[in-house]
Amino acid sequence: MYDVIIIGAGVIGCAIARELARFDLKIAVVDRADDVSEGASKANSGIVHAGFDALPGSRKAYFNVHGHARMQSWASELHVPYKNNTSLVLALNEAEKPGLSELLARGLQNGVTGLRLIDRDDVLRREPLVNPAVQGALLAETAGIVSPYHLTIALAEHAAVNGVDFYLNCAVTGLDRADTGLFTLTTEGNPTSNAFGTPLQTRAIVNAAGIYADQINDYISLDTFKISARRGEYWMMDKQIGARFSATLFQLPTEKGKGVLVTPTVEDTLIIGPTNEAIADKTDTRTTREKLDEIRRVAARTCPSLPQDLYITAFSGLRAHCDRGDFIVGRATDVAGYYLAAGIESPGLTAAPAIALELAEQIATDLAAHHRNLFLAPLAPIFLGHGNDEVNLVALAEHIAEDPAYGRIVCRCEHVSEAAIRQAIRRPLGARSLDAIKRRTRANMGRCQGGFCTPRILEIMAEELSVDVTTLTKFGSQSDLLTGGRL
């Protein structure tokens, strides 16, 4: 029996869990996937938006600006890679210049600071690879980038360290509210998960189910809405080119959204994208030829000289677009004890801290909860031992002295040690799949995309998890890696 169950272990669900964990409540998070952050929270642009984009007065604008204000301190507290890299909205011809002023005005209305228009020379001085046809830009000094899945994982770990239970591989297929006010969940999934046996019950329920939030809502509320999936496809490029950019580069937004951007990531790779396409099937995270071509074409407006041979991978994410056109955050209108964080499309990542704080506050108040005396700090991050200067090398040497596995490099592109991989498995909510290892260590994510290190990582996983290597998966059930078995 829980006080609060949160459905969805994306950045929103995990942030809420972490904030609620400060109170004397018994909390659980359930997710259908095999790891946290398997939804939109793993596949997005990772931009910490300054807040000039959202419609003034909207919930999006409010949570964007307030979330943004907290992101830097959250990231540093949680040891999550974050950079205040600034952003530029480019006017690529004279006709686009008025658009910049409109955005500036909107930003000021939303309360965004550090916004100003800059001229062509200033743009090219900051970003030499930008299209020389550029006429000027709106500079957002406060914009940043964050690693979205690191943030989600760190929040989940921090919640887990403070007693929050996570049920992964556990899909919610039904939800009932008894007259007593108690909710009972029907779940499906991996029979080994703890959820089986006794049904999960809770006093309060939070719907943070991303693109499926409408379905969860339908189980319990008559105040319905519709979430449709809008796919965004991306290209990722090598660090060689990523390192030559600093700011996030937007083109002027159109009615279809913020358009194709070009941005370095916190890991120095470069991403270009996303597209924006309504799709009927909510599991359809394909990339398509047309869209991948389109991205290259449109991105060439921003940077005509992007090299053609430095693509590492392509991926896509699904935006949870709500027919109400805005975020739905807070108490449900018709069911006591039911809370929503639905329709959280962009800038949902940026908004996460503010959404979590607001919901946690509401729930704690409604359940008459008190702050715990003891709230543990986030875990130290996995030691990756990067950097070739004396300080980093000495730190690495110290780690190796403790555990020689820090000196065995498994992933040669990203220099990830065997110890780091073991850590990724042993930590709370440890990795159980190859993709989960990848998100926690970057092993497999470099230029060779796992060509060299996959066999060794699988060996380590089998050893740590005491399973046969042929049972390992890429991202949970049915994504088996070695369907041919052994010789």
């Binding site: 392509a314 230029r447 994504s479 070695l482 369907t483 010789l487």
Partner: protein, 585 residues
């Protein structure tokens, strides 16, 4: 403080390049040598290449990869050359300070000279941008090779292979021999980029279709791969015709779409990289742009044959040894650029040190298309031909060579050189006397046009020999790949037509009467993860491969096993033994 020490010659990488370099440096009298290898054993990529086809040039003997490596490893042990295993070089400074990470800690070595021998990596899927889902079941061919040959793990049950380079071809046969259904090998170009020998022995022998001028256009399957869509491509633009898509059900896709020299370290050392080879820019001594840093093997350029890697490494070792002995200071390098002209995709060395024209210069180059009956020309800045050589065939699949000796050089000053492929009316050149019957076909004076491949889109398999009927076969003795017809005449004599030289006839005769193959495979060892790799000591009759395979797989192995040890004597009464090609203890 990070401990620091000095060393004369540090070799990064313990693959065939690093091993050959170390041995040659020792032969040159150098004492203080160190080989650094990140893996737990020496041998590099050869450890996972359990097939035969190595060493024909270096040892005049056909070996498997582990056997080839083992010969060098034994020699390195005998010479007591120090080796650091499980050690990753994470950085090199331009001043030749190397940073090493290993399970005993972090250290730095200041080297007099460094030989880069880090090999290459495979191009991943993303680099191709194949659209579709991101499900499990997509591996590079090399990863699958490692999983299977070193881990005894089968990636899937049915596979499509994209890319017909040697690795793709070899893996097609490997999977097939271990019971995986290989549905097709798909190749973008109108020709295979692998050796003809491999097309015949890895695909045709096993009835695996080769879809030339095709590519994978989409990946299907939400969790595990379920199918791939393939489509024909226009040979000129290489764009797929999406109206002719065909779906092939399979649970595994192997990518064999190119190798990229592994030069991240070189770049940290600020070594200049040639965008064409993606390896360091070197002069004829394999000296990179950084003084005292040399490069050889796959880190310099992707090689087809390990034998060439070994020879190249020896050259680098001699140069590095001379550098350490300060013989370099005698004459200052005068560097001239050698550039790629028409028809040349990449070449090494990219620079000529003009102060060293006395030593022969061997240019390695990769043509950008298939050329038949063309001439390779090296010209100076005025367009004067320094050396030219006529070739029956040049294909991107084979690294070609052109040697320039001291007497070729003009007395005048050279400021730049260019290598190109031309179709010229061939008068007799000193280097390459015309083979009889050459100079026909596509050779057109003046017009430089890649020759169309003779292969049809789906290659058909040679039907087995029946006396009355003509048999078609492709000659595998050289890259020309003549299409030959073999039949019995009225007297019962085997008659071969279509061959351009005697070697073709010899091959056809033996293929026709009694085709034989060396069989390489794996045997699972109880309680051990790594399977034992074995081969037949001699080639066995081709048509008996399948029946022998079962008895080989059933063999019981008692450890330890030594390389060369007989595992199964007198296979099926052939008098041929099955021998171990790796030590396993």
């Amino acid at each position: 403080m990070i401990p620091r020490r000095l060393c004369d010659l540090v070799i990064i990488g313990g693959g065939p390049a690093g091993l050959a370099a170390a041995l040659e440096a020792r032969r040159q009298g150098l004492q203080d040598i160190l080989i650094i290898e990140r893996d737990q054993q020496l041998g590099g990529i050869l450890n996972q290449c359990i097939h035969n086809g190595f060493g024909l040039h270096y040892f005049q003997e056909e070996l498997t990869g582990p056997e080839y490596a083992n010969r060098f490893v034994l020699a390195v042990e005998k010479e007591a050359i120090p080796v650091l295993l499980n050690t990753h070089v994470t950085a090199i400074s331009p001043e030749r300070v190397l940073t090493l990470v290993h399970p005993a800690g972090v250290e730095q070595i200041v080297a007099q000279a460094i030989i880069l021998a880090m090999g290459c990596r495979e191009r991943p899927r993303g680099a191709l941008g194949i659209p579709g889902t991101r499900c499990a079941g997509i591996y590079t061919a090399g990863t699958a090779q490692r999983l299977l040959n070193l881990g005894g793990l089968l990636p899937g049950r049915s596979a499509v292979i994209l890319g017909s380079g040697d690795i793709g071809l070899i893996m097609a046969r490997r999977l097939k021999l271990e019971g995986i259904n290989v549905k097709a090998v798909v190749e973008l170009m109108p020709f295979s980029s692998g050796l003809t020998r491999n097309v015949v022995q890895c695909l045709q022998d096993f009835n695996i279709p080769l879809k030339l001028s095709h590519t994978v256009v989409e990946i299907h399957g939400t969790k595990r791969l379920e199918a791939v869509s393939i489509a024909p491509v226009s040979p000129l633009t290489l764009t797929p015709d999406l109206t002719r898509v065909q779906k092939i059900a399979c649970d595994t896709l192997l990518l064999s779409v190119g190798l990229i020299p592994e030069n991240e370290l070189s770049q940290i050392a600020e070594v200049v990289i040639d965008p064409a080879t993606r390896g360091p820019l070197v002069d004829q001594l394999l000296h990179t742009s950084q003084p005292g840093i040399f490069a050889c093997g796959n880190v310099l350029q992707v090689h087809d044959l390990v034998d060439d890697v070994s020879f190249e490494a020896e050259l680098a070792a001699r140069a590095a040894t001379a550098y350490i002995a300060r013989q370099y200071a005698v004459n200052k390098p005068i560097l001239r650029n050698i550039t790629c002209g028409e028809g040349i995709r990449s070449l090494t060395p990219q620079r000529l040190d003009q102060s060293r024209l006395a030593m022969p210069l061997t240019l390695n180059f990769r043509p950008s298309a298939v050329y038949r009956g063309a001439t390779v020309c090296l010209k100076d800045q005025h367009g004067n031909v320094i050396v030219s050589s006529h070739r029956k065939i040049l294909t991107p699949g084979e690294l070609a060579r052109l040697t320039v000796t001291a007497d070729h050089w003009p007395p005048t000053e050279i400021t730049s050189l260019m290598l190109s492929i031309e179709y010229v009316q061939v008068t007799k050149t000193a280097n390459a006397p015309l083979a009889k019957g050459q100079d026909q076909g596509e050779a057109q004076p003046g017009a430089l046009k890649p020759a169309n491949s003779q292969l049809t889109t789906t290659q058909h398999v040679a039907t087995s020999a029946t006396p009355s009927q003509a048999t078609q076969m492709t000659c595998i003795a050289c890259p020309v790949g003549c299409q030959m017809t073999v039949e019995l005449d009225a007297q019962g004599q085997v008659v071969v037509t279509g061959n351009q030289c005697k070697r073709g006839e010899i091959y056809a005769q033996s293929e026709f009467s009694k085709p034989v193959r060396t069989l390489t495979t794996l045997i699972a060892v109880a309680g051990r993860q790594t399977p034992l790799c074995v081969r037949t000591a001699e080639p066995i009759p081709k048509d008996q491969i399948n029946s022998f395979l079962a008895s080989i797989h059933a063999a019981q192995i008692t450890l330890p096993v030594e390389i060369g040890q007989v595992i199964l004597a007198d296979l099926g009464g052939t008098g041929i033994d099955v021998i171990a090609t790796r030590n396993l203890s």
